[in-house]
Structures are given as structure tokens and as C-alpha cells.
Amino acid sequence: MSCGQIILDYGLRSIGIGAQLLPRGEFSLCHQFTLIGSGLIWNIYFAVLALATGFFAATGLALAKSARARWLRKPAEWFIFLFRGSPLFIQFFLAYEMLVLLPRGGFDIFGMTVATSWLTKAWAGALIVLFLNTAAYSAEIFYGALMAVPKGDIEAADAYGMTGWKKFRWVIWPTMLRLAWPSYTNEAIFLFHATTLVFFSGFPSFQQKGDALYYAKFFADKTFNPFVPYPIAAFYFVLLTLSLIGLFGWVNRRLNRHLPGARPRLRIRPQIIR
């Protein structure tokens, strides 16, 4: 089989397009590169959606945590502690077991049936867990940045007569983002890496549609040779991590573009497992 044919067959295999069965008997380098690369679609899907939605939840949570009202502050603190204090692996298992307990046929609300079975699938269930998890981690980062917003900025906003939403939108929020951005970049990288856990936790992979690491393990188990598939997966992840750093670096420059002199450079510090 030519490499082009293999790419046609397996390039989109992870989302169910192309060959039905996974390769058997022959595991060429082209097979491994194609299939592991195809699995990467899931990693990107989880990372992009969880980060995009988690960002807003995190902003809300950070504000709630810094609120003076007890009924707002305490739930936010507990939520953050719950998701930051326990392993993501356990969160996946727990979420899966909880979602499985939902009635199979769905709920009946006012005569309408609300289906629930889709929640146990990885694309939805794992995404919810990742969303809650990154919301908690980012909220802690944003909270720290919120506490570090210079007093003078807020006094200046007050002097201009800004209040409420306007003050938040034009003064507090941009400064908070600017301060939080280096740590938030780390968080984004580690969330991206954490997406590899999905198919190793409770969520089953349907019709052998899995992520990059799922296929890497498939090849390692089949060929009994870990020295080829894992470096391929590592190669893909390094590549994507670098593009992620590039993207976030661009945002960082934009956030800091009004500041004179040296712009704070992004420092990527490792802190991976959650």
C-alpha cells in the first residue's frame, strides 16, 4: 500500500471517516504517523473547546472568589479546591460513573424527553470535565492576577467616574489578563497535554476512535516496540505545543502593546499533571 493510500484510509480514522478496521499485520512508519496524527484531532478538539469555554467560567469564578459576599465567595472557593485538589484522572472516572447513572431513556420534562445517553460519550462527558477543570485552575490564576491589579489603576478609573461593568471591562479586566497571561499560557499547555488522559480513564473509545496517545499505545502494544510510536506522538505534541506558545505569545504582545520598554516575556514553566 502506498503512503498516499494510507493517508486517505487513516487520515481521518479517529473521527470515523475512512477505513473501518485499524491496520493489522503491517505497521509501517507511514501507518503510525498517519494514525497518530489523526488521533491528534481529538486532542485539539478537547483543548480548544475546553479552553474557549473555560476562560469565561474562570473569569466569573475569579470574580466570585474575590467577592465580599460570603454566599458568592465560599462556593467559588470550594469549587476551585475540589477541582484543583484532586487528580484529573479520578475526576474523569467519577464523572463517568455519575453520568452512567442517569436514566438510559432520558428524562421526561413536561412531556418532552431529554436524552442523556450522549453525556456518557467521551466527546461530551470528558469535555465537561476538562471544562470544569480548566475553569478551576484558570480561576485561581485569574484570582491571583485580580489581587495584583495596581491600586492606582482603580483609583484612576474612579476619578474618571467609571463604575460597574464599564470599569471592569476597560480597566480591571485588561490589566488582570495582562498580569495573568504568562501563567495562563502554562495552564493552556498543560490542559492540552491533559487531554491525552481522556481515553485512558473511564470513558470508552467508541469503534476504536481515540486520541493520539490511544493510537500510539495501540501500535506499541501491537508491535511490542515502544521506541517508534511514542516518539512520534511526542514529536506531534512538541510541534503543537510550540504553535500554542506562538499563538499565546502573540496575544501577550497585544495585551502589553501599550506598555513602553521591555515587554514581559512568556516564561514556560512545567507543571503538567493535574
Binding site: 505497521f27 479546591f81 475540589l82 484543583r84 485538589g85 484532586s86 487528580p87 484529573l88 484522572f89 479520578i90 475526576q91 472516572f93 467519577l94 460513573e97 455519575m98 452512567v100 447513572l101 497535554h193 491533559a194 491525552t196 488522559l197 485512558f200 496517545l213 500510539a216 499505545k217 506499541a220 501491537k222 508491535t223 511490542f224 516496540n225 515502544p226 521506541f227 511514542y230 506522538a233 511526542a234 505534541f237 512538541v238 505545543t241 510550540l242 514556560i268 514553566r269 512545567p270 507543571q271 503538567i272 499533571i273 493535574r274
Partner: protein, 293 residues
């Protein structure tokens, strides 16, 4: 365990539950918590040692050693750690078997890799197929410890390298001006001072180590996740203690265990930080001095 538990089918209510919680399998579940704690207790110092070596290597004057240190510290940055957890044990196992194969069976001519198989002579197998089950378990656990140590050593090397750079440079120069050699500067000035700078990173690392322990399950060790899945699964009437799917409750227990571990560590680490900050020429140390005076 109790005499009353001999016939579980006749039991009811609280007694049934007590008997259930003391069956042999349940006790194995309780022991597996010790497995996890043991892993943490063994891994933490080894990883710290690896990290220390790696951090010193990045400052070395010998170029290959420095490259090695740089490579080691940057290894974990771009690649998910789970890749290493899956890779290191298998690679290590095959590497050791290959070395033993070469030394123990030199007259074996067939290649080690035959298609999808990895074939070594019987004497080179690790552990030997004749050895008891417990040896296999210990071997698996040791491989897990090594994998954890290598990955966390790389994290620790990052933290410690940063801490070494954070020690005020003037102090090192002063030491040199007093005529100390490089070794002496490292041993007397750099290493004693770096810990307070390393502490935030290291406590973060400890938290991460706690949260990484469920990955033992992926390495095939019978840890708490393994037993929670095993025991929680639905047990039909052919079992002594039939029950519906209880995995949710088992995982809730694990969640509480981890949250408690995190909480306790937080409190302890805060105390250690206070202790190490005392008398340091940092902002926190200065604040403590003023508060005391």
C-alpha cells in the same frame, strides 16, 4: 474476619455491611492505599536527587554534561508526561532484558525483534518466568517508581535550576573574591541558599506528585484505582456479597482521600515555608522580622 460473617447470605443491614467491609478483597483495597503512599515516599527523594543532578549538570563547565542536563530539564516541557509513563517502563524492561540476553546467552543467533515479537532467551527474562507472583508485582512497582522518578526528576531539575539562578549573584562573587573555588562556592553558598527559592516550586511539585499517583493504574500496578474499579463493579448473586454498581461510591472515597492529602500537604508546607523563610534576605523574611520585633 468475624465469626458471624461465615454465611453472608443470612446477614442483613449494618452487620452485612460490616462483614462486607472486612472481606479479604476489601482489606487488599485498604492496603493499596499504602502502595500509593509508599510510591510517593520512595519517589520524592529519588526524584529530588535526579533533579539536583540535572540542575547541577545544566551549570556544568563540561559541554556534553551541560547539554545532557539541558535536554533532561526540557524533556518534559513539550511532551505530555503520560507519554513518558507509558514509554519508560516498557523501554526499561526491554532494555534490561536485551542486556541480559546479550550477556547470558551469547550463542543465541536469532534476532531479538522478530516482526511484532520481542524474543529473548528464557534465562534473560525479567523477572524469570519461574519466579513467584510477588516478584512480578514488585518488579512492576519498581518500574513504576523509576518512571515516576525520571519524570519528576525532570520537573525538579527545572525548579532547582531556577532556584540556583535566583540566589543573588553578588553573594557568589563575594565568595569567589574570598578565594573560594567553584566547588566551595557551590557547596557553601549556592546550595544552602537556594532552598528558600526552590520551596514554592518544590511544594507545587509535591502536590503534582500526589495527583499523579492514580496513573499507577495505567502502569498495571494494583493500586487504589484498580481496586476501586474491581470491587465497585456490580456483583451478581453468585458472589458472597452481591451488590449493584458501586463504583461511584468507591471513586468518591478516592476523591476524599486525595482532597485530604492535598489539604494536609498544604498546611504542612506552609509551616515549612515559614520555618525556612525566617532570617532570609527576602521580602517575606523581612516581613517576619518586622512582625517579630
Amino acid at each position: 474476619m468475624f465469626a458471624d460473617c461465615a454465611d453472608p447470605k443470612s446477614l442483613e443491614g449494618l452487620v452485612w455491611f460490616l462483614c462486607y467491609l472486612t472481606t479479604g478483597k476489601q482489606v487488599l483495597f485498604y492496603w493499596s492505599f499504602l502502595t500509593v503512599l509508599t510510591l510517593m515516599a520512595i519517589t520524592a527523594p529519588i526524584a529530588l536527587g535526579f533533579g539536583f543532578g540535572g540542575a547541577l549538570a545544566t551549570r556544568s563547565h563540561i559541554a556534553p554534561l551541560r547539554w545532557l542536563g539541558m535536554g533532561y530539564t526540557s524533556m518534559v516541557r513539550g511532551v505530555p508526561d503520560i507519554v513518558f509513563f507509558l514509554f519508560v517502563p516498557v523501554a526499561l524492561d526491554q532494555g534490561l532484558e536485551w542486556i541480559r540476553h546479550k550477556t547470558l546467552c551469547p550463542d543465541w543467533t536469532e534476532p531479538v525483534r522478530q516482526g511484532a515479537d520481542f524474543v529473548v532467551c528464557a534465562a534473560a527474562k525479567l523477572p524469570l518466568s519461574s519466579s513467584p507472583q510477588s516478584v512480578h508485582q514488585v518488579y512492576g512497582f519498581v518500574l513504576a517508581v523509576v518512571a515516576f522518578s525520571i519524570v519528576f526528576g525532570a520537573f525538579a531539575a527545572n525548579v532547582l535550576a531556577g532556584a540556583m539562578q535566583a540566589v543573588p549573584h553578588a553573594q557568589l562573587e563575594t565568595a569567589e573574591a574570598y578565594g573560594m573555588s567553584r566547588r566551595q562556592v557551590s557547596r557553601r553558598i549556592l546550595i544552602p541558599q537556594m532552598w528558600v527559592y526552590a520551596l514554592p516550586g518544590l511544594s507545587n511539585l509535591w502536590m503534582i506528585l500526589i495527583k499523579a499517583t492514580p496513573l499507577l493504574f495505567l502502569l498495571g500496578v494494583s493500586d487504589i484505582v484498580y481496586w476501586a474499579r474491581e470491587l465497585g463493579a456490580r456483583k451478581s448473586q453468585i458472589y458472597d456479597f452481591p451488590h449493584p454498581d458501586w463504583r461511584l461510591w468507591y471513586f468518591l472515597v478516592l476523591l476524599v482521600f486525595y482532597l485530604a492529602m492535598t489539604r494536609v500537604s498544604e498546611v504542612v508546607l506552609r509551616r515549612v515555608t515559614r520555618r525556612l523563610t525566617r532570617g532570609q534576605a527576602t521580602m517575606a523574611g523581612e516581613a517576619m522580622r518586622k512582625a517579630g520585633a
